[in-house]
């Protein structure tokens, strides 16, 4: 099995009396988009800073691409690209010069530098605006330019700290699309922090949930969703008598039933089949209009984890 791109082993980081990251252990496989989810102040940004070697852990050990985050932080930064809390753009400089600066920082050869800057500005739809001073740009345009800057040296590890924060829905959707394309094209590992769960659901093949510095859950989004009480089914119709509901509650497929105004919400045990339940309802004289399985969203799973963590 390939080495993970990121490995955290019991990492703790204190700021005085405040514990920002608490005994965090996590592995992120290489080549995927990994979502690091949590509410504001949960320790997401501190974790990125620890992984980039900008901060040292109080306890524990962290590795990125097999490199130690304390002793080999310079090598990690050389192989990584990071878009942190702010875009970090030089607003008094042109878009082209912003990319040119970072291309020089990563010592791209002259010929490659020009081609790479052009390629990234074109991909971001900013080539025609390359000579503009960045200052007057919209937040969405700045964010696209900042992502282009992150990619300038073709990093194998990319850290994105809330890349769509503060963007309007249209700009956020555009940026998400852009990120999804990048993930496929560049083939890098992307470590993305967000508190936007639909964003994580769309982009990430694995996620972890953190709260008050502690890891609450980690895995594939579908695994986390399944963890939120298993499958559910919704039945719409009439004639759901108390006798019928009691009979259904006695069935092994059913964990619980909530009935309200011609609608039943059934919590199923595992991935139980709905057919015997439908048959039972029909036999009992219920008039059924619609039966559908309800998938729990990542948001519901996340909210459940937050409540459990209280």
């Amino acid at each position: 099995m390939a080495d993970p791109a990121i490995r955290l082993e019991g990492v703790t980081r204190d700021f005085g009396a405040v514990r920002a990251v608490d005994d965090l252990s996590l592995e992120v496989p290489a080549g995927i988009v990994f979502g690091f989810l949590g509410p504001n102040g949960s320790g997401k940004t501190t974790t990125i800073r620890l992984l980039l070697g900008l901060l040292e852990p109080t306890k524990g050990r962290a590795q990125v691409m097999g490199l130690d985050c304390v002793r080999q932080s310079e090598e990690i930064r050389t192989k990584s690209g990071a878009l942190l809390e702010h875009t970090g753009l030089y607003e008094r400089m042109t878009a082209h010069d912003n990319l040119e600066y970072y291309a020089r920082i990563w010592q791209l050869p002259d010929s490659d530098r020009k081609a790479r800057v052009r390629e990234l500005l074109t991909d971001a739809g900013l080539w025609d605006r390359r000579k503009d001073i960045v200052q007057g740009w919209s937040r969405g345009m700045k964010q696209k330019l900042a992502i282009a800057r992150v990619l300038i040296h073709r990093p194998s590890m990319i850290f994105l700290d809330e890349p769509t924060a503060g963007l309007d829905p249209v700009a956020a959707a555009e940026l998400r699309e852009h990120l999804a394309e990048l993930a496929t094209r560049e083939g890098a590992t992307i470590f993305l922090t967000t508190h936007n769960l639909s964003e994580a659901e769309r982009l990430c093949s694995q996620v972890a949930v953190i709260r008050k510095g502690k890891l609450l859950a980690a895995g594939k989004p579908e695994t986390l969703r399944a963890g939120d009480g298993g499958a559910k089914a919704e039945v719409i119709g009439t004639g759901f008598s108390d006798v019928l509901l009691d009979a259904m509650r006695a069935r092994p497929e059913v964990a619980s039933i909530q009935a309200s105004d011609g609608r039943l919400l059934i919590d199923l045990n595992g991935e139980a089949s709905l057919a015997p339940l439908v048959s039972l309802m029909v036999k009992a004289g219920a008039d059924i209009e619609e039966v559908c399985r309800v998938r729990a969203s990542l948001e519901e799973a996340f909210m459940t984890l937050m409540e459990e963590g209280e």
Binding site: E85, H86, Y90, Y102, R104
Partner: protein, 244 residues
């Protein structure tokens, strides 16, 4: 390391001309400053401008004024404009960032000071030369550029130390201007120092001459530069910059 220092300098030059009130405003301000010290002062002073210690004064004063606002902007400005963290997350070493920024400020302030000294020499020769070529004495010709270089380095290194603690460019500039005020107060020491000390000082100046005074100033500035630069390098650390 040298390539990284030059990369930081490349960016600093690009970011500098529009520093205060745009390209035109910046150039006009510099032209007025250079005009006063490099043309007007030698024009009104005459031949003595070349032979007296006035050039040493320009060599010290010029970089002093030019370095302060630049060093406040170069370091505290990165934090205020939220560009520092992205820079620290890059492959650049702490030293490359620091020396790149100091190098730019020193080159700028030193270059303009040399320009002022050359302009002063040209002005005196044109207006007061009467067909004879006037040149700076050797001590001034060597000492003035050295003093300008050492003062630029000293102040930009102080700028690093001050900027580490300053949240904004304004705060850094205010702290650095306190140093400016302290330097202005130095000549006033003459009024409070015992007369015997003053007499002994003049005695020493008379004994060693202008070249001796310049050599002493260069020596003291060199030691100060080494000490302050070492402190700045020790304090300019990623983990510290992230937390400050």
């Amino acid at each position: 390391m040298m390539r990284d220092v030059l990369t930081v300098m490349w960016k600093e030059w690009r970011d500098m001309p529009i520093l205060r009130g745009g390209l035109k405003g910046g150039i006009v301000g510099q032209v007025i400053f250079i005009g006063i010290l490099g043309v007007f002062l030698p024009y009104t002073t005459g031949r003595e401008f070349v032979t007296s210690g006035m050039t040493v004064f320009i060599a010290a004063w010029g970089p002093f004024v030019m370095t302060m606002s630049l060093s406040a902007d170069a370091f505290a400005g990165e934090r205020e404009r939220h560009t520092l963290e992205s820079l620290l997350a890059s492959r650049l070493s702490d030293r490359a960032i620091m020396f790149g920024k100091i190098g730019t400020i020193v080159c700028y302030a030193w270059g303009l000071t040399i320009l002022m000294l050359l302009l002063g020499l040209a002005t005196v020769n044109i207006v007061h030369g009467h067909g004879k070529l006037l040149m700076y004495p050797t001590a001034i010709a060597i000492g003035s550029p050295l003093i300008a270089l050492l003062i630029s380095t000293l102040l930009s290194s102080l700028g690093v130390i001050v900027s580490l603690k300053a949240a904004t460019v304004r705060q850094a500039a205010q702290t650095l201007s306190l140093i400016f005020v302290l330097v202005i107060l130095v000549p006033m020491l003459g009024m409070v120092l015992p007369k015997a000390w003053i007499a002994r000082l003049w005695n020493w100046v008379g004994r060693v001459g202008l070249s001796g005074v310049i050599a002493t100033v260069v020596g003291v500035l060199f030691i100060l530069d080494v000490v302050v630069l070492a402190i700045a390098a020790a304090k300019f650390k990623r983990s510290r910059l992230i937390l400050e």
